[in-house]
Subunit: 379 residues, 2 copies
DNA sequence: GCCCTGTATGACTGCGCTGTCATGACTGCG
DNA sequence: CGCAGTCATGACAGCGCAGTCATACAGGGC
């Protein structure tokens, strides 16, 4: 374990003390410079940085973590799928974390993974993290145990507050109000009721969308048709679409994500039903191809970036100022993207065409130019 | 910095020495147990594990990394998009890394990010990683500099060998041969030539697919129509599709990913061309909705999981046995999923319908049951 | 001139592990 | 019975930083 910089192997990496010697200062001062601490003269700072540059010095973050007790790392538990939603959220989290000066460790759990979320959290704690993000978890019936022995703040996206334990902060993606707005869009078009193709109910995200749909119908005193449940895949949407097609009385469908909506549309089309003339379909997520399928899909865009930034702000605050009262999360904007898969029910006069805001929408400042929403309508 | 476990705040986390005391052994023995070293009696091992369990002991990986010089962590640089390809590859990498006993740090870079891949690598090295994976990089004109001061093995997915520096191992996703097979599928159907909608040429992945397309055409002495270039998005595919529609002589298009293919199909359809009757379209990736768009898309599935596992095996070997000669990467399987967006050119007799293997395909053992490929054809 | 405050720096120590070496206890074999 | 070899354990040092405290000097108010 001696540090021989001898010939042959690559020389040992330079340490702070090497930089210090070269700059003619103490190791502690090098540490000060690299941590941006006060009370370092400009001259010394410059010399240290020069020496570090010349030696190719890189701080050893293991040593830093050991000495300081902080890793400057946030762990993320995501459900191991390439689903657009979780993937987008992860990207948002990564950027937000980096902006806040934290690196990221990720742990993917698949549905049915042994250990589940609790195991993932345990593993991250062992790897050393200052905080944990749980992204779009599913209900595994063990929320309590997740909290066991977790001594860092936990941010949970899209699950109820108790989930995550005592130091948890929760950030909704606002799925419920988004789902409600999506449903209301269909009701506003004149549909008497709206069918719902839900996501797997073990996912809290799926439950929220279901709840939003229920809320919209209840608020207007409409009856709630039986709920179909898919697994987020287009294949499950296709299967559900066949059921809906044979039901006969369906004029409007709200699918819990775009993939399922696309499957539904295909099944309906194959059954001889026209979308949107006979049946309107709304999706959820606004995946990149939604504007280009046939017909272009009306869908609810999720503000992943805003949600991720907002949530991470909370988490970082909980890490760095544990005593400050948590600032409340901002309400995410509601952005319904109206395309060609929704229309008034057959035999009813069409309301004004074009992009509309749902009744409860705050005016979205994020609205892209109309051209971004898809190809010019082909009607 | 004294360790007071006193009243009030949560008690300090237990250390190995606490476990040791409780189990009546030395701290070193606790270390042995947790590292699975030999020469620990069953009795002692059991006592140590019990004591650790009772105290809720978790190893401090910063201390371990500092003492051992290894972090058991692999850093991943990905291009910061929610594109299906990179996202799927990331998931595969994560699982493969975990299976090999490594945790993951991720760093997303966006196209045009300051610092680019080199900056990401530098940041990961500072965070402490034993190896680095660069996933689907783009050509930033600074490949040389990426290698500077990198003293860990680097695995590059989908970029030429020089990229990544001296300790680089490269794992292709085999995009070139996949693209060649996709193109050959269209030629086999009887098309005289095939147009190509390429991805952005800064991406090595896009260049590989272009090369594969060229190779297929050259091999049969077909002329190469001018190449269109998109940006992976369905919107760019739509734009390209309009150009193709107005060209008049197009019967077959190979798009470098499914999103663009879907955009192409929409544009062609709007222009009054039927897919596949007038124009055949092949995509690339087999994104989840491809089976359910209209028409269901013929596409080339990428074996992300196999590629990720294979690549990580190489990387882990380079980390743990730097002197062993690198085992060559296996050739990934070629799996063309034939759906309804391809057919013989108009006026020609149809070959046998149904799922076909491309001429050069090895018989894929991964082929899903026919039912998984999409809804029953609606023809 | 004196104390006080603010600024700038260094000496020393310890974070919690792993690597190395030393030391017994126990085996088998000539 | 003695010695080599294997197995099982412990003592000790040190990985490269950041925290704490000590120190030194500059300027300002009295």
């Amino acid at each position: 374990m001696t540090r021989v910089g001898g010939q042959g192997a690559s020389p040992a990496a330079p340490r702070a003390v090497d930089v210090a010697r070269r700059a003619g200062v103490s190791q502690k001062t090098v540490s000060r410079v690299f941590n941006g601490e006060r009370y370092v003269s400009d001259d010394v700072r410059r010399r240290v940085l020069e020496a570090a540059e010349e030696l190719g010095y890189r701080m050893n973050s293991a040593a830093r973590a050991l000495a300081s007790g902080r890793t400057r790392t946030i762990g993320v538990v995501t459900l191991g799928t390439a689903l657009y939603g979780p993937a987008s959220l992860l990207i948002g989290i990564e950027r937000a974390a980096r902006d806040a000066g934290y690196a990221l460790r990720v742990y993917n759990t698949l549905e049915g993974d042994p250990g589940g979320v609790a195991g993932a959290v345990e593993s991250l704690l062992e790897q050393g993290v200052d905080g944990i993000v749980v992204s779009e978890p599913i209900d595994e019936g063990d929320e309590g145990s997740v909290a066991l022995g977790v001594d860092v703040p936990v941010l949970v996206f899209g699950a109820p507050a108790p989930f995550g334990g005592p130091r948890a902060v929760t950030a909704g993606v606002g799925a419920e109000s988004l789902a409600r707005a999506a449903t209301e869009h269909l009701l506003d078009l004149g549909h008497v009721t709206v069918h719902h193709l839900a996501g797997p109910q073990r996912w809290f995200a799926a439950r929220d969308r279901l709840a939003g749909w229920r809320a919209a119908l209840s608020a207007r005193g409409r009856q709630q048709p039986p709920v179909l449940e898919g697994d987020w895949s287009a294949a499950s949407g296709y299967a559900a679409g066949r059921e809906l097609a044979s039901a006969g009385d369906v004029t409007a469908v709200f699918a819990a994500n775009d993939d399922m909506a696309i499957g539904v549309i295909r099944a309906l089309t194959e059954a001889g039903l026209r979308v949107p003339d006979d049946v309107s379909v709304v999706g959820f997520d606004d995946i990149p191809v939604s504007a280009y399928v046939t017909p272009p899909l009306t869908t609810m865009r999720q503000p992943f970036d805003a949600v991720a930034h907002d949530g991470l702000r909370l988490l970082v605050q909980a890490i760095e100022k544990p005593d400050a009262e948590p600032a409340p999360a901002n309400d995410p904007p509601i952005e319904l993207v109206v395309r060609a898969s929704t229309a008034p029910p057959a035999g009813r006069k069409a309301p004004a065409r074009g992009r509309r805001s749902p009744s409860r929408s705050n005016d979205s400042a994020h609205a892209p130019p109309g051209g971004e929403n898809g190809p010019p309508a082909a009607d």
